[in-house]
């Protein structure tokens, strides 16, 4: 099929080409030195897996629509018309051959934002109902939850009640609560679906005596993965409205890469103004509590060797690079950083929504090879990660590459090392008694 697609594609793409995207589309000189920065190329070194080759496929279409020379003499600048076949290939590439990790941007002499280029393709695909169905369904499900809140609320509250019982058993405090819908609260905590991101945080909030409540909505925002900004905004808006209604001072996002990026960095720009509340990550909160002594921890309780995988959205995109290391150095006896790490960390291969796309499982396992090699090189037994999608992928590559590693989260490691405040109070009480006895003895 070689016929051109409808003119609306030009209009759709044209709306997306802002100054940032245009510069990235125009600046690349095809020097090729970004090749090895991509985990896909590292895993399978073929031209199609280089960032510049992939971006060039989009540029060729861009030139055919917007470059004057591309219109007059397309062959001269490699301009190619956006046929249906070509657009289908671009869509597949943007959703399954790039995890939007921005490692190539950090390594480009120009700083070309290839992730932005790939996002534009995702956005066009979404506008034409060509995005992977599962990602769209997950985004739509989030919106449906708010639209049918009456239906969901009772079930959700029942689930929370059950979790509350577990919390009371874990903390030994029959009054321990998982509060919801509390006005004037200090922290509105936004978790993911399921207890695994609620209970550990609830224990930590209980331990620190934080004035908090749990959001009625989950943090995940698949609107971001399908690059559908109106949809992503609608999903975010549920949390924003809730935070405003409760007059919360801070919204704390669970350890989830894309959820944090969405609420912390992207969403204020959709609204055109900063939020009237602070947006922080649970990881920032934990690092702060450990640094200022709110949480007392004993690293000897985590004796196994631990390495840390930087989620691209938290590290390279959001700058949360020091905080997880502050936590791990405090709570683990044997923390081993990966090489490279931080802003140069390799994507695990599951980012950009890839973990949810069943058809791309082989691609993502292959793309996880550099990460598997990084983990193996540390010799660590535990791999900590601050993102649910990363944790799924890290578990899968551990099996696929026989790493023999277990995956864990930072809150779990902190809880394991935690010296409960009750013990601290008892200890300081007995210390006082010893001191008074000593004083009498003297």
């Amino acid at each position: 099929m070689t016929e051109s697609v409808s003119p609306k594609l030009k209009e759709q793409f044209g709306k997306l080409v802002d100054r940032r995207l245009m510069a990235s589309l125009e600046a690349c000189v095809r020097c090729g030195i970004c090749a090895e920065s991509c985990h896909y190329y590292q895993a399978d070194p073929k031209p199609e897996n280089t960032p510049f080759f992939r971006a060039e496929q989009v540029r060729s279409v861009y030139r055919s629509m917007f470059d004057p020379i591309g219109k007059i003499a397309p062959r001269w600048v490699g301009a190619k018309p956006p046929t249906q076949e070509r657009m289908a290939d671009l869509t597949d590439m943007a959703f399954t051959n790039c995890t939007l990790c921005r490692r190539c941007t950090v390594n480009c002499p120009f700083g070309v934002d290839t992730a932005a280029i790939m996002r534009s393709v995702r956005a066009v695909a979404s506008a034409n109902d060509e995005a992977p169905e599962i990602l769209t369904q997950l985004a739509d499900a989030s919106i449906a939850r708010e639209e049918n809140m009456d239906l969901f609320k009772d079930i959700y509250l029942e689930q929370i009640e059950m979790m509350e019982e577990e919390l009371q058993s874990l903390t030994g405090d029959p009054d321990a609560k998982i509060p919801v819908d509390v006005e004037g609260v200090d922290v509105l905590y936004v978790a993911l679906s399921g207890a695994h991101t609620i209970l550990p945080a609830a224990r930590l909030f209980h331990e620190t005596g934080t004035d908090w409540c749990l959001s009625m909505f989950e943090a995940a925002n698949y609107g971001l993965f399908v690059a559908d900004t109106p949809k992503a905004k609608k999903i975010t808006d549920r949390i924003v409205k809730e935070a405003k209604r409760l007059n919360a001072k801070r919204v704390v996002v669970t350890d989830c890469g894309h959820a944090y990026t969405t609420l912390r960095w992207e969403a204020p720009n959709w609204y055109g103004e900063p939020f009237p509340f602070e947006v922080t990550s649970l990881i920032e909160l934990l690092a702060g509590w450990i640094t200022d002594g709110t949480l007392e921890v004993d690293p000897s309780r985590n004796t196994e060797s631990v390495t840390y995988h930087d989620s691209c959205n938290l590290g390279r995109v959001s700058g949360l690079i020091d905080e997880p290391r502050t936590i791990l150095r405090a709570v683990c006896e044997d923390f081993r950083d990966m090489t490279p790490s931080g802003e140069n960390n390799y994507c695990c291969g599951g980012g950009g929504g890839l973990v949810a796309i069943e058809e791309a499982v082989e691609k993502r396992l292959l793309a996880g090879k550099p990460k598997a090699e990084q983990i193996r090189a540390t010799g660590a037994v535990l791999v900590a990660a601050s993102c649910d999608n990363c944790r799924i992928q890290l578990g899968d590559i551990a099996t696929n590459y026989s790493l023999g590693t277990q995956v864990t989260g930072l809150p779990e490691l902190v809880l394991n090392a935690l010296i409960p405040s009750v013990s601290r109070k008892n200890r300081s009480g007995s210390e006082r008694r010893v001191n008074s006895v000593t004083a009498v003895g003297d």
Partner: protein, 212 residues
Amino acid sequence: MTPYEVAGLTVLAIGVALLLVGTVWVVNSTNSRAFKIDVAPSRGSMTRGVAYAFSLGMAPWAKESTRRHLIAYVRGIVFHTGVFLSLGVLVVSPWLWQLPEALRVAVAIVLAVGAVAAVGGYWIRLTDEALRRVSTPDDYFSLGLVTVLISVAAMACVIESWITGFWIVSGFTLAYLPIGKLKHSIFFFYTRFQFGTFFGHRGVLKISRRAQ
């Protein structure tokens, strides 16, 4: 002034005029595109990010890619030194032969090395499968144009009669700059600025993190 020299200067003048008009057109059409100032509260420093992007961030040790491709990086630096030196020679060309011979010869040697590095660009582009597949006629033409520019600049430093030819080549190169691949020299400033603001604002770059 000979008719040949008049022709040379005319081509150069047209080239400069087209460069100015073309650059204004490129900048205007880029700036007419939507641009949003990031309103998310900063956790770093945009200023430091931009300063880094245009200075230390371009050092060969700053990026894994340039450390890995050190030869390609050095080739690029030598090549671009040749380009900028050629433009310098163009500016002083009316008085070029009033300069000391030793200086002219030294400049010619640097330019010759730059020209060799430029030819090296063909070698890289043709031997790497991925680059060969994405390279367009514009890539080869632009590289050729600049290679000729540097070479003729070198010749003009040692043979006075080549100055007019240098003006003509310069005129064509400058006229082509805003049209084809050479316009990366304009967009370089956009992308580096964006790199600095994006990663600086978010505190990703160490230098911007320290500024908090």
